[in-house]
Structures are given as structure tokens and as C-alpha cells.
Amino acid sequence: MTATLDLRASLHGLPGVDKVGVEARAAALATRSVKTTAKAAAIDLAIRMVDLTTLEGADTPGKVRALAAKALRPDPADPTCPHVGAVCVYPAMVPYVAEVLAGSGVHLASVATAFPSGQAPLDVKLADTRDAVAAGADEIDMVISRGAFLAGRYDHVFEEIVAVKEACGDAHLKVILETGELATYDNVRRASWLAMLAGADFIKTSTGKVPVAATLPVTLVMLEAVRDFRARTGRQVGVKPAGGIKTTKDAIKYLVMINETVGDDWLDPAWFRFGASSLLNDLLMQRTKLTTGHYAGPDYFTLD
């Protein structure tokens, strides 16, 4: 009981988020112009940060194998193009991807814990997680119980994250806050701290399954949270915006925001990822434009 009160007290003791201020700050950072060699470097970094994702009911072994092959060699026409950060699939598809990625350095992420709603009993969620890790996933993307969080049962959410973290074993744990359902920036800040206190290795914005996904202001609030958390505890936590990031321009805005908010330490695929699928093709088209000097077209990149 005291533990519950402590958690509630510390989460509600966090300073409130200035909504207008954070939106203005995010909008101001989005106006930077990144060109030529800096742009080329940004595009390559963004490619290395992509979690190439397919989370469809219609995913087949063939489709995820093709996606994994693309993760290894995103641009078959250019051997200097780096590989992506990870492939992200449903647990049932993990074995097929693991075959392709074995020994490549590309991570294999899997969503677990009754993704995307998180509305399932804890033992089902834990079994889901253990299955995914056993099948070869080295990163687990879990969803928090938004219902419990919004009802104020922070201890329930906290204990769930702790239990899933334990079930993960050596695998990295990314905790999806589903910010589109949290309603306020204050809640985003509280949920970020809650997840980090419970042992998350990454905090992630969204499942991509609700209309409002990653936005710049939400990501800014989360970046501030990981920065303050490291200052307080010494432990560094990664951030992953997911959903709705479709263009190179968007991706570069996020990179600028990292650099200005938390600094170079997070400008690395180990600490920042983009959850995306269509973003990669746009990055490749922009990359081709820079290397060849003429505009690229979508006909020359795979559909996935």
C-alpha cells in the first residue's frame, strides 16, 4: 500500500507539461533546414534507426521473409546503403524472420502482451512474451494497460511491466505508451516515468493502430523524460516514435529534436528508433536523389 502511494506521489509530483510551450518548441525545431552532406549523413542515420515494421493480420511467412531481406539490403542497387535497425513483426512470424536475419546485426523485434489493445490477463501476456523470445526475438515491444493507467492503477501497470521485463530475459524491452489514448501531455510524462522506473529499456509512442500516432510534441515530452531520468538515476533509456512518420523530412525533424533536447548520446540506433514501414522507401528515394543527382521514383523500390 505504501509502495502504491509512493508511486502515485512521485508520478503526480512531476511538474506539469506546458502544452503551448512544448508545441511551440517542437514547431520551432521543425523549421531547421538540413542540406547536402549533413542531409546525406542524416538519411543514413535514419535508415539505421528504422524498425522496419509489418503488423497486419494478412502477414504471411513469405511477406515477412521479403521484408527481412529488405532490412539487410534496403537498396539492392547501392552496396554502401546501411542496413536498418530492426525488423518488427508479430510473434507468430518471428521464426521466419530469425532465419533470414541470423548473424546479420539487424535486431529482431516482436510485439507481445496482447498487442495492440493490451486487454488480456497477465499470464497470457507473459506467455506471449516468452514465446516470442524463445522463437528468436531479441527486442520485445509491449503495450501498457491504458485502461488501468487512466483509472489511476499505476501499481498494476508498474507490476505488469516488471513481470514482462523479467519474462524477456536478455531481450530488450520497449514499452508502448500509446500516447494517442493518454489524452494529455501530463499523462505522457507520467507514463514515461512509470515505464522507466519499472525497468523499460525503450519507451515507444504508439502501436500505429489508433488514429493519433507519433507527433513531434509527444516525442519531445518523452525525450525530456529520458534526459531527466538519466540525470536522476544514471540509467539511459531509448525512445521510439512509431506510426505516421512517412517522409524523410519528418525523420530529419526528429533527429534535429534529439540533438537539441538530449544531445549526441541518443543519436544512435541503440538509443533511438523509428517504428515505420513506408518511411524507408522515402529515405531510399532521397538517398538515391543525393547519390545520383536526379529525382527517384517509387517504381524502382519494393512495395511492402
Partner: protein
Amino acid sequence: MKAADTAWRHTLAKKPPAVTAPAAPVRLGVRKTYKLFIGGKFPRSESGRTYLVNGDNVALASRKDARDAVVAARAAQPKWAGATAYNRGQVLYRIAEMLESRRDEFAAQGVPVAEVEAAVDRWVWYAGWADKIAQVHGGANPVAGPFFNISAPEPTGVVAVVAPASFLGLVSVIAPAIVTGNTVVVLAAGPQAAVTLAEVIATSDVPGGVVNILTGNAAETAPWLASHDDVNAIDLAGVTDLELATELERAAAGNLKRVLRPGDPENDFTADPGLKPMVALLETKTVWHPKGF
């Protein structure tokens, strides 16, 4: 519509009317900035540049405007090609109607009345071809097997056009491209008449993005369109510099674009164009359909 001598500098230089006379108020003319036509809208150039043509301010398109126009044309293409041929014919006929009603405007810009009338007739002529080209250019093929074999013409996609200087020439390169379901990015030579044509097209039920018109220096923007991987064909009808034409052809070879080479500079657009301008921008799809036995 405005006379050539009402440039704003000129107007400002005039002395204001005497203060004492409260007579008839002097009306200030509304001057027009000639803008680009991209995706059904009339934006200024992304670069913010303009240039003067006969005292008018005209937007000077940059490579990024060309890029935006290709995006708009690509987005509009499947729906335009998917519209029924009858519908496309109706839309082209509507362009002819609107052009007819704006004849005076073109005349004021120095386009001879006979040329505007010929342009109206040209739109009507192509409108009629919309639902007939497949009959003439496609058909059933006899094959030695149990197949029903048909060849059907399909639009090639996004077509970049370096338009010739004359107004009739401009219409004669746009109409054959769009009537079959292509979308176009046009680099226009005579900017005022071209933008006025864009206004005609914008009020004729042509979906946004089917025709995009850029004004400015074709030698600057054309190479970007020629090398663009998302452009399927380029018509060099208006290129007069043969060295530039060769350079554009070379750039277009990069993604195996279809190239229509510049014609005779004395090209007579008043002659019957025949089917060639339409057929040149069509792909033939042949289908082998098994006959059930």
C-alpha cells in the same frame, strides 16, 4: 483583361487627380500575377522568383516546382486513366466550351483570333477521339491456340512536355496526351496565354493534377524532368536548341523514358495532326484470355 500599357510602375508614375474635384472616382485596376498551375491550384514558385514578360509579373518555376508537379501528376494519373473514355471526352469538350467563351481574353494577350478558334476546334477534335482511339489502335488478334487475344492501348503515365511557343502548339501537345488518360507536366513558353489556358482548364472539371503548367526557363527545369525516374515520357516539341535536346534525350535514357524528339521548328500545327501524337503516348497491353472448353 488589360492593355499592355497599364503596368503598375506606369500607373504609379501618373499624377494623382486634383484634390478639389470630387468627380468620378478613379478605379484602380486589379493587376494579375501569373502563377504556376500545380495539382489544380495556382501557387507561386517555391523559389519565390518572378520575371517580367511584357510588363507582367510571371512566376519563374524552379526544379522543386517541377518535382511538386510530378508528384501531383502521379497522384492524379490512376483516377484519370480509370475514368471512362466517354467521361474524358466530355471533360475535353468542356475545355473547348470554356476556351470558346474566353476568346477575347486570349485576343487581348495577342493570340490571333483564328488561332484561338483553331485551338477550340483542336480540343473538340481530340474530345471525339477519347472513346474511339481504342477501336482504331487496339483490337482482337487471331492466335493459333484456344485463347481470346486482345490488344488494348493504355496510357503511359506521367508525361513531361516542353511546349512550343504558339498557343495552338501548346494545345496540340497537351490534348493528345491527356485524352488517353496520361497526366502532364508542361513547361510553357508563352506564359500569359499558358496561365490563362490553365484558368480555362481549372474551370472545366479537369481533375486537379491532370494538367500542370509551369512557366519560366525550360532549359533550367527540363533536365530535372528528363532525368526524373517517376516521369514516363517526355515530349520535346518546344525545344529549339538541338544541343539541349540531345542532352535531354541522354538524361531521359536513364530510366528508359519514351522521348518524342523535337519536330521541325517550322512545324505547322494547323495541319491535321493524325493519330501519331496520341499513339506515341500509349502502351499496348495484350491479354491472352483462355477460352473455356
